[in-house]
């Protein structure tokens, strides 16, 4: 009798909290993500698949940690950093976050430019318009309505799963690559590995998922259910990511395509969409880019204001919340301005931004680990051993990769 009742309430409760995690994780499969996964598949075939398999539990666990901090404390990540570590470390953390968010926003506008150029529209036209649209979406407050449309549109990337099957890869080979680690000892490979880490476990995503949980007012007791949304979102995002690699590895790698522009990346969808591959890819890329270009500046502006005690909120105008409005406007304008620089290689910019993310990640994760293992803050909700192993593992690997890359560059191996 009792179990039956819990189950019924349980199902309803699960449905009512679905959202923040799925949205946060979908925003992660943005232009930077798609280009990084595509390039990984095209350049190295199935070779990098095993990393995705290793990173999936790490990603799930880190997202779960962020959500748990939000539910237990009712505070955002940046507020916790400020209260636990004080002003100076917070300043550094916010610089890292802003750098990560700004770099990724640049990639989003690169995504817009690349998508629209596939329709023959100049980036000097599409990017300013996109910047204006994104800015208005946020100040006009209609962002919440548009969010769902954009999410739906960006889900066309699920097409990669179908496309992967239609491309008829050698599944045995795929399976082997998934479980047998293999590396190529070049600077390019290491840089791409950092980018892959950075785009899969993007630092700003933890801020986003945590603040979503806080805004929803999810309590520690509701977290048992709410976390499934976060976990499911993380799993779904990584599943799509793996299929992007499989598809590009099957279609583009044997043909020797290196991916220097978006049209080449789009051609991986040809087994499914034929001549419409470009259109399909462009629409998905555009929607994903616009969605994330709105989410990222907002997330970083919120987090920064929360840390320093400045007023924040999309319903506050310039005189009430000058820093908040100034920050997100600045991030959007600067990111769009970067793309307007003549002769920019869009794919390279998208990859580079993810490498920046990958380099920032471990340092923000260290903050997270110190907070989530602090019993005074988390009480009985501190990390278990498994969480600690995966999270510290990610930190160590990410720092090691960056060190190796720097070493290789310094030694001239690049």
């Amino acid at each position: 009798m009792t179990t039956k009742r819990t189950r019924r309430i349980g199902l309803f409760a699960v449905l009512s909290v679905v959202g923040p995690g799925v949205i946060a994780a979908s925003a992660g499969n943005d232009s930077g993500g798609i280009s990084t996964y595509s390039v990984a598949g095209a350049r190295y075939g199935y070779q990098m698949l095993w990393m995705m398999l290793v990173m999936t539990p790490a990603f799930v666990i880190i997202q779960e940690m962020a959500g748990r901090m939000g539910a237990v404390t009712g505070k955002g990540f940046s507020a916790l950093i400020r209260e636990r570590f004080g002003l100076r470390p917070t300043f550094v953390a916010m610089l890292l976050l802003l750098a990560s968010a700004a770099a990724t926003t640049v990639a989003e506008f690169a995504g817009v430019a690349a998508a629209m150029e596939m329709f023959g529209v100049s980036r000097y036209l599409s990017v300013p318009i996109a910047a204006a649209v994104v800015w208005l979406l946020v100040v006009r407050g209609s962002y919440r309505n548009v969010e769902k449309v954009l999410l739906a549109l960006s889900s066309v990337f699920v097409a990669y799963i179908v496309s992967a099957f239609l491309a008829k890869p050698d599944w045995l080979e795929v399976g082997r690559a998934l479980v047998v680690p293999s590396i190529t000892p070049t600077a390019g490979f290491v840089a791409l590995a950092i980018g892959l880490t950075g785009t899969t476990i993007a630092p700003w995503m933890q801020f986003l998922v945590q603040s979503n949980i806080v805004d929803k007012g999810t309590s520690a007791s509701e977290w048992k259910l709410a976390r499934w949304d976060v976990i499911a979102g993380a799993l779904a995002a990584n599943l799509v990511a793996m299929f992007i690699i499989i598809t590009t590895a099957t279609v583009l790698h044997p043909a020797g395509v290196q991916i220097t522009d978006a049209a080449q990346a789009a051609s991986a969808l040809a087994p499914l969409a034929g001549e419409y591959a470009t259109v399909l890819f462009a629409i998905g890329l555009l929607a994903a880019s616009v969605l994330s270009a709105a989410v990222l500046p907002l997330t970083s502006a919120y987090a920064t204001c929360e840390a320093f005690g400045w007023e924040a909120g999309i319903d506050r105008d310039w005189s009430e919340a000058p820093v908040f409005n100034g920050l997100y406007t600045a991030v959007i304008v600067l990111a769009a301005a970067v793309i307007m620089l003549p002769g920019l290689d869009l794919i390279a910019i998208m990859l580079l931004s993810q490498v920046v993310n990958g380099m920032m990640l471990p340092f923000l994760l260290i903050f997270m680990m110190r907070i989530i293992n602090d019993r005074r803050i988390m009480g009985s909700h501190v990390n278990g051993a498994l969480h600690n192993i995966f999270a510290w593992g990610t930190i160590v690997v990410a720092i090691a990769l960056t060190t190796v890359l720097m070493g290789m560059t310094a030694l001239g191996l690049a």
Binding site: G74, R82, E83, L136
Partner: protein
């Protein structure tokens, strides 16, 4: 003057000159306005925490160290008392409520001062200055000097202890000074302002400490969008208790915003009478007389005497919102007249109501617009206005407080529209004026650079069509004109409901745009011909001017929809930004059309 961020980590030295640790925290006694420092916490060797009494053991303190008056071996260590607050642990970097400024802020530093060997807390620094000092004192000094150069002071923003309420530490068991203002002691309207700045979980914690009547007042004072959330987060039993205590019109507003299941559940938990009143009100539309009225009315019949009416008031009507007017109804609850409290007081107790009743009652219908209701009340100087249906059955009354709220809403809308800002500018000195203006200069500069960029994309066209550049200032000027015209029209049209739909405005503005475009195209053509430009160039530019004017006019129709908030309460961003945006649109269209036409027209 001492600052906590500077004191932390300072060495603690005993009477023998031996360093025995470094300061990790400072405790204050909570009962005073400027609390005394009572204990010193420090970390000894191996980070071992110690605590000692400030009064007994601290000899003196300066910037470099704290000196004790006994050797290390003679210290008797103490423990933290329940009424002590630790400055570092409980205050520094934490969010607090500034109960004087009604704001939620973060503590960047704590300022202490020494007088007669007694260290006291002056207040919490919550401004930029504290952030800068916390990052590095050199940074603070540098910025302070810079701001002095431009004639301003980098002000300290201090909040005294008696105006602080802590959010993370429960102070309810601590004896505070009489002047100490805590969040829940504020006027409900002020408390609501602060509650709106808190996160859901912080809000929930504040509500835990409020008793039901106080909670009901606070909820009623919250902005609409927070009310439903707060009620939704409370337990159903408590939520229904609080709703019961509120005026039925306020309660109905909140319940109307809740999900259906939750609303039904709460209504079922409420008392029968209260629930019935709320249900009756839920049927009326928002922003109408029905939506803002309360069904709690004091009614009497004509047969009663003044004495009976006064007794009736005492017994039954005591809890009604307004008793300044007593409404007279017949046996079918139809409104027949009104008597005022004044009439009652000055009449003989045995006078029948029929003798003093005034039958000339001003009424409104439940579907009347709330602005009309407010205007009516102001015109006739009424404290309450009865709402009746078509059979004159009395449904409820609109009280003066609700009418004032309506007026405030509507006038805020109009003011915001007319001035283009939510706040009237305060008197300001030249520097801040320059600061504001130079912000805009920068924006225009960026736009200018953008325009040059645009131009460079059309370089080829412009080599052959130099004359096209003549008309760029015209397009910019026109865009500004259109933008301000479009907004002026919007203000003229008054309330939101009266405004034409976007589609209608687009049609009208397109027609106007066609006219304007045709005229300006013709003028441009004439001028160019007069200047002796070749026919082809004149046609190209004239068409481009006409087209750009048309598109700008159409885009101008959108400006108010983009620029103004949905509820019409003000601007989303500085208004100049929108005319600038329109100018960019106009220019882009103009240049694009010129290039296109130049390519398309036969040579």
């Amino acid at each position: 003057m001492f600052y906590l961020t500077q004191m932390l980590g300072t060495p603690v030295v005993d009477a023998a000159g031996e360093t025995i640790g470094e300061i990790s925290d400072i405790a204050i006694a909570t009962g005073e306005v400027f609390p005394r420092v009572t204990s010193l916490a420090f970390l000894g060797p191996d980070k071992k925490p110690f605590m000692l009494s400030w009064r007994k053991f601290v000899e003196e303190i300066d910037e470099d160290r704290v000196r004790l008056n006994v050797p290390a071996t003679d210290i008797r260590f103490s423990y933290l008392q329940p009424d002590e607050v630790l400055l570092h642990r409980d205050l520094l970097n934490k969010q607090i409520v500034d109960t004087q400024g009604m704001k939620v802020v973060r503590v960047n530093d704590l300022k202490l001062s020494e007088s007669r060997n007694q260290l006291r807390l002056l207040g919490a620094e919550v401004g930029l200055r504290g952030i800068l000092r916390g990052l590095h004192p050199v940074l603070e000094r540098a910025v302070a000097r810079l701001t002095r150069l431009v004639g301003r002071e980098l002000a300290e923003n201090l909040i005294a202890w008696n105006y602080m309420d802590l959010l993370d530490r429960d102070l309810s068991h601590v004896q505070l000074s009489v002047t100490h203002k805590r969040l829940h002691e504020l006027h409900p309207a002020d408390m609501a302002d602060v509650l709106e700045q808190l996160s859901p979980s912080q809000r929930a914690r504040v509500f835990e400490h409020l008793d039901n009547p106080a909670a009901a007042l606070a909820v009623a004072a919250l902005e609409d969008e927070f009310q439903a959330d707060v009620i939704d987060d409370l337990g159903s039993q408590r939520a229904s208790d609080i709703l019961e205590m509120m005026d039925p019109d306020d309660a109905a507003d909140i319940i109307g915003d809740l999900p259906y299941d939750k609303a039904e559940k709460l209504l079922r938990l409420m008392g029968v009478n209260e629930a019935a009143a709320v249900r009756a009100l839920l049927g009326y539309r928002e922003k109408t007389a029905g939506g803002i009225m309360t069904p709690e009315v004091t009614t009497v019949t004509e047969e009663m005497t003044v004495q009976e009416v006064i007794e009736h008031l005492r017994e039954e009507a005591a809890e009604n919102e307004s008793i300044y007017y007593i409404f007279v109804v017949d046996d079918q609850a139809r409104l027949t007249g009104v008597i005022s409290l004044r009439d009652l007081v000055i009449s003989e107790p045995r006078t029948p109501v029929a003798d003093i009743v005034s039958r000339d009652v001003i009424t409104v219908n439940p579907d009347d617009d709330q602005e009309y209701v407010a205007e009516t009340m102001s015109k006739y100087d009424l404290l309450a206005l009865p709402v009746v249906d078509e059979t004159s059955t009395l449904l409820g009354i609109v009280t003066v407080d609700d009418a004032l709220e309506v007026m405030e809403e509507e006038s805020a809308e109009d003011l915001a529209l007319a001035t283009g800002s939510d706040r009237r500018f305060e008197a300001q000195d030249a520097w801040s004026w320059l600061g504001r203006k130079s912000g805009w200069l920068t924006v225009w500069l960026v736009l200018g650079v953008g325009a040059v960029w645009l131009l460079s994309a059309f370089e080829e066209t412009f080599v052959s069509l130099i004359a096209a550049a003549f008309f760029m200032p015209l397009i910019i000027r026109l865009a500004e004109e259109i933008s301000s015209h479009s907004l002026a029209v919007m203000i003229d049209q008054g309330s939101l409901e009266d405004r034409p739909s976007l589609g209608r405005r687009l049609v009208v503005d397109t027609l106007v745009g066609i006219g304007l475009g045709a005229v300006s195209g013709l003028i441009a053509f004439g001028m160019l011909e007069l200047l002796g430009e070749p026919l082809r160039a004149a046609v190209t530019i004239a068409l481009a001017v006409g087209g750009a004017v048309l598109v700008t006019a159409m885009a101008g129709a959108l400006v108010p929809y983009v620029a103004l908030r949905e509820d019409g309460s003000g601007w989303r961003a500085p208004s100049a930004l929108f005319s600038a945006g329109l100018a960019v649109v106009g220019l882009a269209v103009y240049l694009g059309l010129t290039a296109l036409l130049d390519a398309a027209l036969p040579a």
